[in-house]
């Protein structure tokens, strides 16, 4: 221990690096070289890496225990390298520089998680080495599985939210790859895609949460968030986004007032809700749960490891990790608890009617995850987290047991759905005793049979749901708008409601799990007619793969699907089919079952508050110390209260559930269930269709996005491209087409144009133009007009202010006229020009001599104002004369 402490000091705990790098290395080697290395080498690589990581996790855990004697938070850090740094202006215009390191840390919470991940992970690796033995993608499978372990470890060991996010998306990626592991079936590939995209919705929430944290707190690492979390206690205006709602004026007044009323929420609530959206996605809470049941398309060990024991509990881990932030918002916690409780109940009702054993387990996983969130939501983080632990054991055991059963069923039934249908099973107890016994142990735990692990963890959650609630500060004030916000207070009835939902779920859980066990292991075998020493007529002698031990017909069947399209499906059932005796699985598969079964029974003693043995609880206490300050829970003194709660859990939930299932399915052989289904067909269909959530999403969100995308495509093609490219091209083309008509190359057309052109020019020349250049001097009153000269022009003027033309009606050669006006005098002046063809043109103007402006006249002597009324000379005019036109006095 001394040596270890020296080797791995708390501030530079490089053991974490080792724990992380081994699975990654194994993933790389298996993925790239696995095909060449062969099956044994892949197995060795995968298993040894995970086992070494497990040993590392155990050492870490022991060291944590060694340090944690004084009841304070112990955290070992390992800072690998600087990742990046975020800089910008945050809240209150303070410059934020948020360094993000690739840093890891381990404390009681993450240490426990790491232990579960590597421990259960190793068992499942061992199990897979047999279960997947015959699969052609064996190496690929192990590479993904190792990569998953790596990502999951990054998730729990990461010291900041972005590093957690790396693991968070990494496990999502592995989940995507493993769900679609048998990719040649579209259904599997779709399930993988659905899982990834649904998870991405959650990841979006996490991204938003990170942004808000950077803005308000200025830190993303656990310590920094915890220290700066008080900055989250300020109101944030969430509506309207701008200063006013733009459409408000168009609406009736009352409505406008309602929608433009500013609404505030505390920053903590926003952050927590965004974080919870992320948790909902990963942990498949109601709303984003749709991917998990479909995810059962993956190989069964994957369902056990990823979709039951570890990955799906990441959301709960996140809540526990940031418990200090979550308790700051009672509203967000109410949402967490509410959604958790509802998910628990909702999934349990669906599990009642499922026949696919993996689907039953999937919905029970949903339901148990709901429990965990219920526990965390009411502030009982420790209870919620303990359920993560026990659930990892019993659910992994259940899934692996189910895998063992499916494996046995594959001896004769190759269709995925039929081999997982519990109507084809029954009576397997006598053929597969090891699987049956361990399965029963896990069943006892999940059903809440007293003294099993599930009993203790579930009992604790139920108890806390009733008595514990989250209280934040009564008011929150400050923020940019200086408002005071009253914090949300949990209503009185809420705890009761949560408790009732939890209790009801417990009854249903006991019932459907008993139904599952009875369906698989009791009664008569319904899969096929058992013929000892039966030989598969379809087996090709060359393949030789049909020995019973370690054969995974599941994968092999997939291979055959593609190569032999004619592979016929036989309807299972005693009357249709004959087959061999169902067989127990090999030791690689049963050993994990025994270990997990044992843990399911006895792990409860780690945290049995009921009988005052809670080493785990004490170990975790410092992690939740900050959070528990804001949680209001009555004193532990009422011992009897606890016992009453436990008794209720046993006698109202577990016992009736199990008893009812026994009565229905063993005593009455399932007839009451069938009758109930017949009596309420719509309810039954509703539950069988999983509350039709998928259909609802399809009809709403998916269809909306789909048609929106169609609209965008149309808009892009016809409006954007249409206006910018096609319309502009059309305009140019049209202009070109018109102009092209003038460039035909036909001489006749050209000469015609020439003719018309000459005609036009000639006409212009022939017509006279009465253009006059004016030269006015208002100050002196001298006005001078000079007419533009032209070919053969003759002029007559009228400038003397008297009727009739000056000097008679005859046209003369006078081109200039000068006259004097008095102040305020008005005179009409006229000019007529006669062209050579005796056509005349006229110019007429009324002239007024304005009063001299005294002020302006005093400052600047007025200059003669020159105006040109005839800037254009007639075309064809001799240039020499045009240049001298303004002062062509000589022509007078």
């Amino acid at each position: 221990m001394e040596l270890l402490t020296q080797l791995f000091p708390a501030s530079h705990f490089s053991l974490l690096g080792l724990i992380l790098i081994l699975p990654l290395l194994a993933a790389f080697v298996n993925g790239v070289f696995g095909k060449r290395l062969g099956r044994e080498a892949v197995t060795l690589m995968g298993l040894s890496a995970i086992f070494a990581a497990f040993v590392g996790a155990v050492i870490t855990y022991l060291m944590l225990l060694g340090h944690g004697e004084h009841g304070e938070l112990v955290r070992f850090h390992f800072n690998a390298w600087r990742w990046l740094q975020l800089e910008g202006v945050g809240d209150a215009l303070a410059f934020r520089a948020v360094p993000l390191d690739v840093a890891f840390s381990v404390d009681a919470l993450s240490g426990t998680m790491a232990l579960v991940i590597t421990g259960v992970g190793f068992l499942i690796h061992l199990y897979s080495s047999s279960y997947m033995a015959e699969d052609p993608g064996y190496y690929r499978f192990f590479a993904y599985l190792n990569l998953f372990i790596f990502s999951m470890l990054v998730l729990v060991l990461g010291n900041s939210l972005p590093i957690l996010f790396v693991g968070w998306e990494g496990v999502g990626l592995c989940s995507y790859l493993l769900i679609g592991f048998w990719f040649s079936e579209d259904q599997n590939a779709s399930a993988g895609k659905k899982a990834f995209i649904t998870n991405r919705v959650g990841d979006f929430g996490l991204l938003v949460a990170m942004g808000l944290l950077v803005y308000y707190v200025g830190a993303l690492d656990w310590h920094g968030i915890e220290v700066g979390r008080n900055n989250l206690l300020q109101p944030v205006k969430v509506w309207p986004v701008a200063d006013s709602v733009p459409i408000a004026q168009l609406l009736p007044e009352s409505l406008a007032e309602a929608i433009s009323k500013p609404r505030y929420a505390s920053a903590a609530t926003l952050v927590c809700l965004a974080l919870f959206l992320g948790a909902m996605g990963k942990s498949a809470q109601f709303g984003l749960h749709v991917w998990l049941p479909d995810a059962m398309a993956g190989p069964t060990p994957v369902s056990a490891l990823i979709h039951a024991a570890t990955m799906v509990t990441a959301g709960v881990y996140l809540l526990c990790r940031l418990s200090a932030v979550f308790v700051m918002s009672p509203m967000a916690m109410a949402v967490v608890a509410g959604i958790g409780a509802f998910t628990a109940l909702f999934a349990a009702t669906i599990a009642l009617v499922q026949n696919d054993i993996k689907k039953v387990l999937a919905y029970s996983t949903l339901s148990q995850l709901g429990y965990m969130f219920l526990g965390a939501g009411v502030g009982a983080f420790e209870a919620g987290f303990f359920h993560v632990l026990t659930h990892a054991f019993f659910k992994a055991c259940l899934f692996l047991g189910a895998g063992s059963v499916i494996h046995a069923m594959h001896a004769r039934i190759h269709d995925t759905n039929d081999s997982q249908d519990m109507r084809n099973m029954g009576g397997l107890l006598k053929f597969m005793p090891a699987t049956a016994i361990t399965f029963a142990a896990a069943w006892a735990a999940i059903a809440g049979v007293p003294l099993t692990s599930g009993f203790f963890s579930k009992d604790e959650i139920l108890l806390m749901a009733l008595k514990s609630k989250v209280t934040g500060p009564a008011t929150i004030s400050g923020g940019q708008h200086r408002v005071v916000l009253e914090n949300f207070v949990w209503p009185e009835w809420y705890s009761g409601l949560l408790y009732a939902m939890g209790l009801l779920t417990a009854i249903l859980t006991a019932f459907y799990m008993s139904r599952l066990v009875i369906g698989i292991f009791l009664g008569e075998f319904r899969g096929w007619k058992i013929v000892p020493n039966w030989v598969d007529p379809h087996a090709q002698p060359a393949s030789g793969a049909h020995d019973d031990h370690g054969h995974d017909a599941h994968a092999a069947a997939h291979d055959e699907h593609d190569d032999h399209a004619h592979h016929h499906h036989e309807k299972p059932g005693v009357e249709h089919m004959e087959g061999p005796t169902p067989h127990e699985s090999p030791w690689q598969m049963t050993l994990p079952l025994w270990i997990l079964g044992g843990l399911s029974l006895f792990a409860g003693l780690l945290n049995a508050h009921l009988i005052h043995i809670a080493p785990l609880g004490h170990f975790l206490e410092p992690v939740f110390a900050e959070a528990s300050k804001s949680v209001e829970a009555p004193e532990e003194s009422v011992e009897s209260f606890k016992w009453i709660g436990a008794a209720i859990a046993v006698f109202i939930a577990a016992a009736p559930g199990i008893g009812l299932a026994w009565y229905t399915y063993v005593v009455k052989a399932g007839r009451p269930a069938a009758e109930a289904a017949a009596k309420f067909p719509r309810l039954h269909a509703f539950l069988s269709d999983k509350w039709r959530v998928d259909e609802f999403y399809k009809a709403t969100i998916l269809d909306i996005v789909d048609s929106l995308a169609d609209m965008c495509v149309w808009f892009d093609k016809w409006i954007v491209d249409g206006i910018l490219a096609r319309a502009s091209a059309f305009v140019i083309q049209a202009a070109g087409a018109i102009l092209r008509q003038f460039q035909t190359g036909r001489v006749q057309a050209y000469s015609a144009v020439l003719m018309f052109g000459l005609l036009g020019v000639g006409t212009y020349l022939v017509l006279p133009h009465a253009n006059v250049r004016e030269h006015f001097d208002h100050a002196s009153g001298v006005y001078k007009l000079s007419a533009a000269p032209g070919l053969g022009y003759k002029y007559r003027w009228d400038v003397d202010g008297q009727e009739g033309w000056d000097g008679g009606d005859k046209f003369g050669n006078r081109t200039e006229a000068t006259f004097q006006l008095k102040v305020d005098e008005e005179r009409v002046i006229r000019l007529e020009v006669e062209g050579p063809l005796l056509i005349t043109s006229r110019y007429e103007k009324i002239l007024v001599r304005p009063r001299p402006d005294a002020s302006s006249a005093a400052v600047t002597p007025q200059k003669p104002e020159e105006k040109s009324a005839a800037v254009q000379l007639p075309p064809g005019h001799p240039p020499t004369r045009a240049g001298s036109a303004p002062d062509a006095k000589g022509t007078l």
Binding site: E87, L93, E185, A189, Y215, V241, A242, L708, A709, A725
Partner: protein
């Protein structure tokens, strides 16, 4: 320890990397590929260790060889001319010559990594070009253009390898175009004289036009024209703006210059500033492209040959974003700041979201990738509009990322096109069965494009989104709202990319034509290996890139802020004026007023006197 042993231990890690990655290719691959992949991996390893902050960095080589940038730019241009004298009949010679030139260029450009991270111009060369018009040959790099230059020298050889793989005729023209394009792109990134920039900017158009118009698909002529005309419209507007600014500067300062440093001192009256900004912004936003000018991009991509698409996506589009950052924000920060909020909304709603939705509906894989480019470029522009260190650094990193990821995607699409001569999604399905390596690589690059953490895509997107969250200073009260909207792009990216992955690679292998498709060959594997390497290097060690651009980004942002303040402070109808000189490293190479002949001789005699005195 004797020096030989020490030297061995120093290179041992690289040898190990070399050995491991030389083993990566499967059994049936031949030696050259092994050596190539090992070399690529070892080179990347060297890159990481040499650029690691704290590691002994290369000595500043700017003093040792100041003409490096000119060499980089003019080597391919001169080589392109030289190529014209090589025989058309020996395509092998032409190809090898081109590759050799590009390789020399790439290796030479690596010495740029030796520059220190401080802000200021590196490898600056100033020389008179057309003195009577004040046009100078002024080139330099800083933390922004450094990465663009490296991206170019890194991508073009890959594009050349890809192009040589799929194009069989008119090799000479192809080589000529590639070299010209390469030189022109580099020139545009390093020019600090607006006239010089404009020359290179226009010079890029022609080789690209040839690449699309000669080697493209069925509708290549139409696509080439569309590309050309769109860009040309923008260029003309930019030219008008440049000339106006040069003229205004002349009236104020008394001498004529096209220099970026001088013109960025200009504070124009509001209306004129808006018009000039519009001219520049139009040119760059068309190039990026930003809605509604984006429709040339899918057409050009679909018709262009694979190599052309890779270059177009990886480098040419970056000229738009780089130009916006350098010229719009650097010279016309005032109007750029005013329009940044509405433009940010445009790139979010009509780039990131709209582009993603359209991408989702495409049947042609290349078209899909092109529309995904619109979405990705939207992220880059958003980072620039946020205009804080996180956003801008994220944007520049995202430029590199987009070059790497989208380049790789186009390369991969080209692989399947070469085999089947179709890119329609409906033609495929279940390819994972026959082409496992191809599938793995495609999924990997998809993850990078979607932005899964650990790959490069995430770091860029993350920084841009965080930058937007911290962008109140320039984006105003909508920053959070915009950041949240932009984050939805993350969901949509997964939607469209995974849909196409599922349709092409998963499900039953139904089309008999796909039953016997060969997996990727050595050339293709070699071409994509550096891209794959970079995907992870940027994903895990973004600091290698971010640290080097940090000071330059801050300098640019300081100037931007200053411009904004000057612009908003000025009164209505005020006259154009020049900002005061600030000095400092960013001002080196500032054009001085040309001296009269008398002054020149006086100066010369003074110098001589000084020399004598020494």
């Amino acid at each position: 320890m004797n020096p030989l042993a020490r030297a061995f231990f120093e290179i041992a890690p690289y040898l190990l990397t070399f050995a491991v990655f030389a083993l990566v290719p499967g059994r049936n691959q031949r030696l050259p590929l092994r050596l190539g992949m090992g070399a690529v991996a070892a080179l990347l390893h060297v890159f990481v260790t040499c650029t690691w902050s704290g590691a002994p960095s290369l000595e500043e080589s700017a003093t040792s060889w100041p003409n490096l940038l000119s060499f980089l730019t003019f080597l391919p241009l001169v080589a392109a001319v030289f190529l014209l004298f090589l025989p058309r009949q020996s395509p092998g010679l032409l190809k090898n010559f081109t590759l050799a030139v590009l390789a020399i260029d790439f290796v030479a450009s690596l010495s740029l990594l030796g520059v220190s991270a401080e802000s200021g111009w590196r490898y600056q060369v100033v020389a008179d070009w057309i003195p009577s018009l004040g046009i100078r040959y002024h080139v330099a790099v800083d933390g922004l253009s450094l990465w663009m230059v490296l991206l170019t020298t890194f991508t073009t050889p890959i594009a050349a390898i890809v192009a040589f793989g799929s194009i069989r005729e008119r090799i000479k023209d192809l080589c000529f175009s590639l070299l010209m394009l390469h030189g022109a792109m580099l020139g545009a990134f390093i020019s600090l004289d607006l006239f010089l920039f404009f020359v290179f900017w226009e010079l890029m158009l022609i080789p690209m036009l040839i690449l699309i118009g000669v080697y493209g698909g069925v509708d290549r002529i139409k696509a080439a024209y569309k590309f050309f005309l769109y860009t040309m419209v923008g260029s003309m507007m930019m030219l008008a703006a440049i000339l106006y600014m040069v003229w205004t500067h002349k009236t104020l300062a008394g001498y004529i210059t096209f220099d970026y440093l001088a013109l960025s001192k200009l504070v124009l009256p509001k209306t004129a500033a808006y018009f000039c900004f519009a001219g520049f912004a139009l040119a760059f936003l068309i190039k990026v492209p930003v809605f509604p000018f984006h429709t040339w991009l899918p057409d050009a991509h679909v018709q262009a040959p694979t190599g052309g698409s890779v270059l177009l996506a990886a480098v040419l589009l970056k000229l738009g974003t780089y130009g916006y950052l350098r010229f719009c924000m650097g010279m016309l920060g005032g109007p750029a700041g005013v329009v940044s909020t509405p433009l940010a909304s445009v790139v979010i709603a009509l780039g990131i979201i709209y582009g993603a939705l359209i991408a989702w509906k495409q049947d042609d894989v290349k078209r899909l990738v092109a529309y995904s480019s619109v979405a990705h470029m939207g992220f880059i522009m958003l980072g620039l509009f946020a205009a804080n260190p996180a956003g801008v650094k994220g944007a520049i990193l995202q430029m590199i990322n987009h070059g790497v990821s989208t380049g790789a995607l186009f390369l991969l699409v080209g692989v399947i096109y070469d085999r089947r001569h179709t890119r329609m999604v409906g033609e495929f399905g279940g390819l994972a069965k026959v082409m496992p390596i191809y599938t793995s690589l495609f999924i990997l690059v998809t993850m990078s494009s979607v932005g899964v953490p650990g790959t490069n895509g995430f770091v860029g997107e993350f920084m841009v989104i965080m930058g937007t969250f911290l962008g109140f200073e320039h984006l105003g009260p909508f920053a959070h709202f915009q950041a949240i909207l932009a984050s939805t792009g993350v969901i949509l990216a997964a939607l469209y990319m995974l849909s196409v992955v599922q349709k092409v690679f998963f499900g039953p292998l139904s089309n008999p034509k796909n039953k016997h498709l060969p997996d990727m060959n050595a050339r293709e594997l070699f071409a994509i290996s550096p891209l794959v390497g970079l995907i992870f290097i940027i994903g895990f060690f973004p600091s290698l890139f971010l640290d080097r651009m940090g000071p330059s980004v801050e300098a640019v942002l300081d100037r931007y802020r200053e411009h904004r303040q000057e612009f908003t402070a000025q009164e209505e109808n005020s006259e154009a004026r020049l900002m005061g000189r600030r000095g400092g490293p960013l001002e080196s190479g500032y054009p001085e007023a040309p001296k009269s002949d008398a002054e020149k001789t006086a100066q010369a005699s003074k110098n001589q006197a000084e020399e004598k005195a020494q």
